[in-house]
Subunit: 829 residues, 2 copies
Amino acid sequence: MVGGDAYKRGGRRPESEEDLGSGGIVEEDSGTLFGFGETNASSSGVDGSSSMAPMGVFRRRVPDKKKATESLDYEIAEHSVYRAEQAKRATWHQYRYLALKWALALVVGVGTATTAFLINLMVENLAGLKFSWTIQAMASSSAGAYFLYMIFNVLLVASSACIVTYFAPQATGSGIPEVKCYLNGIDLPGILLFRTLVGKVVGSVGSVAGGLAVGKEGPLVHTGSCIAALLSQGGSKRVHLSPKWFREFNNDRDRRDLVTCGACAGVAAAFRAPVGGVLFAIEEAASFWRPQLTWRTFFTTAVVSVTIRALMNACKGESDCGFFGGGGFIIFDINDGQSEYWIYELLPVLILGTLGGLLGSSFNYVNGKLTQWRIKYLYKNHHSSRRHVKVIEAMLVAFITSTFQFCLPLAFSCRECDPDIATCPRPAGVHYGNFVKFTCPGDNQYNDLATIFFNTQDDAIRNLLSSEMEQEYSPTALVTFFCFFFVLAVITYGISVPSGLFVPSILCGAAYGRLVGMLMTSITGNAEIKEGTYALLGAASFIAGAMRMTVSMCVIILELTNNLSLLPLVMFVLLVSKAVADLTGILPIYDLHIHIKKIPLLEHSSERYFRHLSASDAKSKTCVQFGRVEKVGFILDVLKSHTHNGFPVVEAHPTDRVTNETSTLLGIVLRNHLLVVLKKKISFMKDPSEVVDPVLAFQYDLTEFTKPISSQGVKLDEIRLTDEEQNMYVDLKQFVNTSTYAVQEDMSLAKVYQLFRGLGLRHLCVVPKATGVLGVITRKDIVPEHVEAQYPEVKHLSRTNSYGKLSRSPSFGSFSKTKDLGDSLIGTP
Amino acid sequence: MVGGDAYKRGGRRPESEEDLGSGGIVEEDSGTLFGFGETNASSSGVDGSSSMAPMGVFRRRVPDKKKATESLDYEIAEHSVYRAEQAKRATWHQYRYLALKWALALVVGVGTATTAFLINLMVENLAGLKFSWTIQAMASSSAGAYFLYMIFNVLLVASSACIVTYFAPQATGSGIPEVKCYLNGIDLPGILLFRTLVGKVVGSVGSVAGGLAVGKEGPLVHTGSCIAALLSQGGSKRVHLSPKWFREFNNDRDRRDLVTCGACAGVAAAFRAPVGGVLFAIEEAASFWRPQLTWRTFFTTAVVSVTIRALMNACKGESDCGFFGGGGFIIFDINDGQSEYWIYELLPVLILGTLGGLLGSSFNYVNGKLTQWRIKYLYKNHHSSRRHVKVIEAMLVAFITSTFQFCLPLAFSCRECDPDIATCPRPAGVHYGNFVKFTCPGDNQYNDLATIFFNTQDDAIRNLLSSEMEQEYSPTALVTFFCFFFVLAVITYGISVPSGLFVPSILCGAAYGRLVGMLMTSITGNAEIKEGTYALLGAASFIAGAMRMTVSMCVIILELTNNLSLLPLVMFVLLVSKAVADLTGILPIYDLHIHIKKIPLLEHSSERYFRHLSASDAKSKTCVQFGRVEKVGFILDVLKSHTHNGFPVVEAHPTDRVTNETSTLLGIVLRNHLLVVLKKKISFMKDPSEVVDPVLAFQYDLTEFTKPISSQGVKLDEIRLTDEEQNMYVDLKQFVNTSTYAVQEDMSLAKVYQLFRGLGLRHLCVVPKATGVLGVITRKDIVPEHVEAQYPEVKHLSRTNSYGKLSRSPSFGSFSKTKDLGDSLIGTP
């Protein structure tokens, strides 16, 4: 077992620096790893624009094939091709872009809703078939029924584990941590691919129908994100359906927005909670939020809501959806529950909150330990046998789960039905609902443990939250259920199947919540107080303890139960539970798994001690940088020998006095942009002092510079250069992001962190202290009114887009007229 | 009338640069206005650390009394006093701070809820008394009743107008635009003072009870914010209740969080919609949001919810709350309404959305024109007569409103009651509810126009949304009501009383919504379709058209109606209406008023043409800056002659070669910090080359450096310096924010804007291009794990706070042990 304090936020410390980079997780570029001689540390050592000096010792050659975890490029790189692209755009382009954006949001909504519906349909039908067969078999022999039930479950889970393990390894688990990381700016390999989507959907059906202690809600968030990411791909090149205007969203920035919509759609579809979906993204999933996104995600979830309703209505009609019908979507609807509350109920709510906080964080703690143990001991073998272990593990868990589900209720005596309730016991031939008869002999008997254990989990939740009958469950049944289910949930989350955590959390919480409710009704004797209400509050408390969501969970519960009167109680239980869980110092479950996987997620606020460090403490001592004009062969060498993804470009200016050179930072050039330039070759020039023809920028296509999702873009192998080409030069100024953010060396790291995290940067230059100040910008200076007053021509230009009217002839004669724009278009040579 | 395109976002252009600064609104510092000779433009011209050179011509002396609109300091200024304060802090300090933060959130919640309850109590009682007297008087004479009603209203409104005009001018209007500006970082003078709070509460009671077409919901947001801001003041110095630990929140950064909580609490109290309150802040009010804030605002609104419930229960019991009872809080509860919808209902929803978008934005347009006209012609006179005009205007509006409310229903014939409805007509002696009898002669008759016009507005909303009776209103009554009420609402918003916009918007929207509903029921003949539902959808559409809120409005409506089944319809009507309204190009009402008042609000995204400009285009050509060591008298002169609030401090380094000086930017020093230094005098030194004793920093108190709300802090008049003192020196390095954000001159303005807006800056230095690059920071470098691995001692320091153990003796002997920290504490001399 590794150090326990790894769970605490303050204690997140890898064993060594190398540790952080191991496992293919943090093979992040830093631009600062390798030598370049000491000369690099100060600007005076950089020797000029066409620095052909040897780049120092290249310590290792990085295999190009290995796909490491990289950051995403949320920054717009303002290089000449980008500016040229802007120049080409007419006004209608903007409208097309906007229309397409909304159309994609619509498609994401419809797609996610349909997928969610299909998953539900398949799960309900498979589970219905399973229970139907088992109950038929039970008439003849319990043992036979058990074997049938167990085999059915193990097979389903095995299919799920196989597809996840052998075909789509990224589809394992809940997917919410992965989506959260993606939206934080981390490009985990393969998490948003089509194969992951398939694995998630099929695997989810298998694991949920197979009776595991998992839900389908978490995986739906991942599913929605996958659908959104695939739509942003701009069609498929393989089937030759990739129009240029459709490829426009194939960049990290637009994709981030779409994936956010997808995640919202996933939650909205899972719980039929459209507003909850939007809030989930705001509170939990998204790291960057813009007001415009609120509106767009809202639209997406509205579409989801309507689509699911339409699909469910279609199933209600003539068409036969098999066992799908009463079950499926709305998890619980306790309209018949409590509609008033008394002030003394705050005490049990406090108790529930505390319980939820403690139990939720113990869940995280134990599950985290188990996950670390799995990584360290269970999965330590080499690739293929590790995969077999995973499948066998999943089958074993399925076997244990099935055995508990079937055998435990056998040990429980039957309870008498309330004669007023017509559906007690559940009529023969119905495979969902309350009051499961199981093996009970009498006509008016039901088995209370079987009602919650030997049932689909959606039904189990409904039954636990039901207010149909007081004392429906014996305390022993509830305690037994909680203990076994808690253990099952702990061991299940982490095996190689898609597994959501909402449903197990709700079930665990509802079990002890109902216990507290029973206590309350017997103590107070108040007939208005319902056990079901406490079950709901318990569910909320466990979720808040394990996941620490408050507002979004509150709205989701609101939308699920359709009962607003209990809102203050729900709010308080969530607050207490989260506070207690936070006090334990154990991380929320998703963050815990992110931390165990050593993914460099950037939280919103920096650590306190960051204020004691400065920017120059964080950057490494040396740095690989290019001069303005570099030899092609040299660039290729650097790319081959370094994994960095961004290289600063520095231009030297010989001043009057020969001995005193000054240099300036031009900006950062990205690795994949360099690869495109090397592959395309049109920017090569024979003479390093040649002046770049600005029209060259128009010969590139901006979409060439963007990487498709989970891909490296142009690969090093694709670049074939002759010796002659290798001896040519490239003026890197054209491809530099001229608006690179830079901080002075003495800025406190806390503020650097703020900047980096707040703007979603990938590279941040650390520069020497500024040589004086040219001016100060304040609020007034950048209010659009003021800027327009100063530069009325710019507004006009922006409106009529005379930028687009620039002649594209090689002479660029018209440029002289719009000098300012010409400058910013190509950059003065 | 001024230019119509001022309404469109693209057309927001002041007539001249001076225009922007006029009216005391944008007297913003820019640090860039005045000459300093040409030498300033380049760093080489700054002549050294103890630059005693004359500062050029000071063109105007700024009167110190005038309180101009400034920006707020959301940035932490990391100067030596701040670092010393950090060093003094023990670990428990952090817990006290946290506990206090939550305690304040609790108090804000309780305070806002209580205030909201009191306002409701007073409004209901005053309005109840009014209607009771009027109805009694109607028995004898209609004319007498009219005069009684009218006089009552005019007096109430006059009292409201007087208190607002003569006592608390900032309490006028809804207050939401002001709060929005405050949270954007603009310190509008006086908007969060105690007198404004009093004016808002008392004025709100008067204007709402006086029957004006205004609501009390908008003002409650402002009320909540005022309460929060006052709590952050850290007690009152006047009553000697100002413990030091309590003053800790007396800074712009912590106050922003508290005011956000207050705004949430206001919405939560107004609509009894706790989740809606949080969302309102996220979507509309707040410009900066942190995940931690979600939780804290959520807590505040939960407290509000429970407090109001408790207070209302207290009123239900023995205690006599007068006319308060059936009315008051929950505006509408249409649980008895429609619970299903059909696909063909999307068409009327589309129509309603379009109508709402068009009518909502016409409301904005006309109201904006009227407001401009008022400013230009009505209020153009000198101060005191302008104030009388405002009061007379308010009384006139009250007179017109009362006359319409009383006389229009007289022109309408009575309608027969449905005999099944027991409360039709409203029994005598009851002063609230549906089916107002008014002057109807028959026992089973009611006047439909009086039901919505001659009633409190809360009741009018309930009646319009009621599904009790089909065809309750004649189409003529609805059309008449809409037309007159729309006009009344347009002329009322903008007069000198506290006036919310939610209630008028809901009433306008509900009127045409109900019309569409009547059309639908008569066309489809579907008995399940309720007119009340359409009234609700209409209300939503008008709000979305006028205010453009979507998610928050949706949740508020959800919480108000306690009916989730219509969620998709509500979502669609909101989306359509917002889209249509946005297409008209007319700004949302709050933004429109912000724009008319010429407040430099920074929107989230910059204008498109910002990408064509660069940082050096935005900054002015010259800039006032200090050398590192400056003469006291010189600093005082600069402060007297400039309004700037931040001054860059530059240090010159004589290099080996005498002719070639280099200089570096140390950071920005703030005006109010300089004033504190000049007042306290302890940092003065006789010799400019003296080395600063680092213990000096401990003799300041950090709270001295923070400005109380709506105050200038230390004033120039307070500084009395002898000639000798004026000839002494100050080393400004101690008071400089060493972590000043700076951008290179060629960074595109779009990115500058992003940085400025995203981090909530007040000053941003524009510096020359960097002389090379020292390194690059990437994600990996600032992940806490990595930083801790590199600097294990820092983590330890942060935890045990050995910072706090630093000796405070003048010798500072212990400093050598913790060299790094000593450096960052004082800055190496």
